[in-house]
Symmetry: C2
Subunit: 356 residues, 2 copies
């Protein structure tokens, strides 16, 4: 019997509730597929600050490194918002990305037909939107040197945005690889008319493109891309971009669908190792009420099955189960047209398990 | 008779055509208001590269500095796209911003009722959208030090994002001042959970807020703002943000309206001096055909009348003239539901003059 080790980091807010349902679904997959999942739990974010005095305890890194993949819930909440940088939940998230070498963030924004009404865009503009943002996750201005000092005109603050050729090359290759398995259209987004890092980005992308003659590459400036995502999102298949632009554009793309409670993401290292998490946050305002939508976390588990374990069929089965529950009309509060008919977190998890 | 000196920089692509109509409108305002406008023409962008060997000739800077305000058409085109940095049209634009100290970019995104259909968003989401993005324009990663060198893993590129306290303070004050004259709600956008420059930005904003107790200030992360602009743009009154985020968010906000051929912008220095330009680009694909929409340039002229010359009534008269022409059903190709009924650049200019 094949065994896969999964590090489970529920985190803060609604994290624990939604993770519980994803684990239930995975336990069912275990039986169905005749494999063994070994779950090991760890702390990250606010809960880790409270318990261990740091948002990313060594133990959590160790558990994650020993695992074949990591499932993350969400981190953050008002309790820790005023903390200094090293004691903030997000610092744990940035830290685990760097510690595990998770350089490739894969963020699909897919409009499922039963969800079209939830979007703020016109149905004809968003129906059938099916795009993926591939975001560089361990470089750029996020991890460059930071400075703060006194100058003649008051305080001065600096952030360095730095990219090395090999960092650009490996993420752009992920972009091409993802595009190759889809519609073979890659848009590389940069700000090459202003930034030196973008000019290097574009140069490397052009060079790598020679290895992918079957994929159509185009370049788009980040401001133009923000416009085009609003105007005509269907034009996109795969977008590849650097860390900061990817943060903004992937969130914008996610919101086009109107249902970020449904969107999953993967953060991959070289090889098959990855961390999987919902796109939405920890939603502290509804934590503990049993009303959070577990589907993004369940769909993240499906991504894990596919990308880290190569269990394509099981992944599809989970995804089909989710869509069938939605098609039957079940909704949690965040995506319900009529909130009074909304079902809870556990009920949604149960229905997906049943459908599976 | 009061005299105002206006530097006119038509630039590339459709720039000259649309500028011609704006100048006609201004000539009418001259008579109507009993003032004198002294127009002086200058070159910028691609045309200046071709004629003077630089995208921003000294003469253009001189003409602009001697003027009370500058009207700019648009710069850029495929002809100069492959040029090295110092010979690119955008470099002229960045250069004039710096040379004239234009630190405050004011970008309204207003949904006029007759235009609701042009938006890709649902009418109920965008009708009555009326927001202004105040973007810092001469600092941040745009003007920080750039480096390119060879490292152990290939080439390395760096961009420095730097902000001084006084730069943040003056743009944030513009944000508060603009908000004070409107709904008194200011959203300051940053990435304070990651960037040092954003943490300083937030600190300075909090300090300045004490001088504006009548304005409601809130902070939003740039990724959340990109989401909220898609989900519920009506929540915004005034957004103030740094250069790079402002580039992205102001373009996204502009596209929400679906008619960027209608949007004007101002770039202001300390005092009343400013540069006024349409939000749209030089549209080289339709240049010289007489079909470009001159309304954004005409509305930019109205902004100039209001912000640089204090001619509020004349500004309103021009704006009313534009809306009345639109309400009468006239459209250029870019905003026409039925392109075959679209009118040309000159015809649109003539109708606005007539309405005025
Ligand atoms: C919490 C924050 C540091 C993080 C980021 O900016 O990367 C988040 O916005 C994300 O996209 O995962
Ligand atoms: C042309 C380019 C350098 C410029 C910018 O990024 O500022 C443009 O996008 C703008 O917004 O005016």
């Amino acid at each position: 019997k094949k065994t896969y080790r999964i590090a489970v980091l529920p985190g803060d807010g609604i994290g624990p509730e939604i993770m519980e349902e994803a684990v239930k679904v995975l336990s069912l997959v275990e039986k169905r597929e005749g494999v063994t999942f070994e779950f090991k739990y760890g702390r990250i974010g606010g809960i880790a600050i409270d318990t261990d005095g740091t948002p990313l305890p060594e133990e959590t890194i160790a558990i994650s490194k020993e695992a074949d993949a990591v499932m993350l819930g969400a981190v953050g909440g008002p309790k820790w918002d005023q903390n200094p940088g090293h004691l903030r939940p997000e610092t744990g998230l940035l830290g685990i990305r760097k510690a595990l070498g998770l350089f490739a963030n894969i963020r699909p924004a897919t409009m499922h037909s039963s969800m079209v009404e939830a979007s703020s865009l016109k149905p004809e503009v968003v129906s059938d939107v099916d795009l993926i943002v591939v975001r560089e996750l361990t470089g750029g201005i996020y991890f460059g040197e930071k400075k703060r000092y006194d100058g003649p005109n008051g305080e001065v603050a600096e952030d360095q945005c730095i990219y090395h050729e090999n960092e650009i090359e490996r993420i752009v290759r992920v972009g091409f690889d993802v595009a190759r398995k889809r519609q073979k259209r890659l848009v590389s987004v940069d700000k090459a008319n202003v930034l030196e890092s973008s000019r290097l980005w574009r140069k490397v992308t052009e060079r790598v493109a020679a290895d992918y003659p079957d994929v159509e590459l185009s370049h788009m400036l980040v401001d133009a891309c923000a416009m085009q995502l609003v105007r005509a999102p269907k034009q996109f298949d795969v977008i590849v971009t650097e860390n900061m632009f990817g943060d903004i554009l992937s969130d914008q793309a996610a919101m086009l669908t109107g249902s970020i409670g449904m969107l999953a993401s993967a953060s991959l290292a070289e090889g098959s190792f990855g961390l999987y998490e919902p796109v939405h946050g920890s939603a502290p305002d509804i934590a503990g009420q049993g009303i959070a939508n577990p589907l993004a976390t369940i769909l993240s588990a499906a991504m894990m099955l596919r990308l880290s374990f190569g269990m394509d069929e099981a992944a599809e089965a989970v995804e089909r189960a989710v869509w069938s529950v939605l098609e039957a009309g079940y909704r949690t509060g965040d995506i319900a047209a009529d909130r009074s008919k909304a079902i809870g977190t556990k009920e949604m998890g149960r229905l997906v398990c049943e459908a599976l």
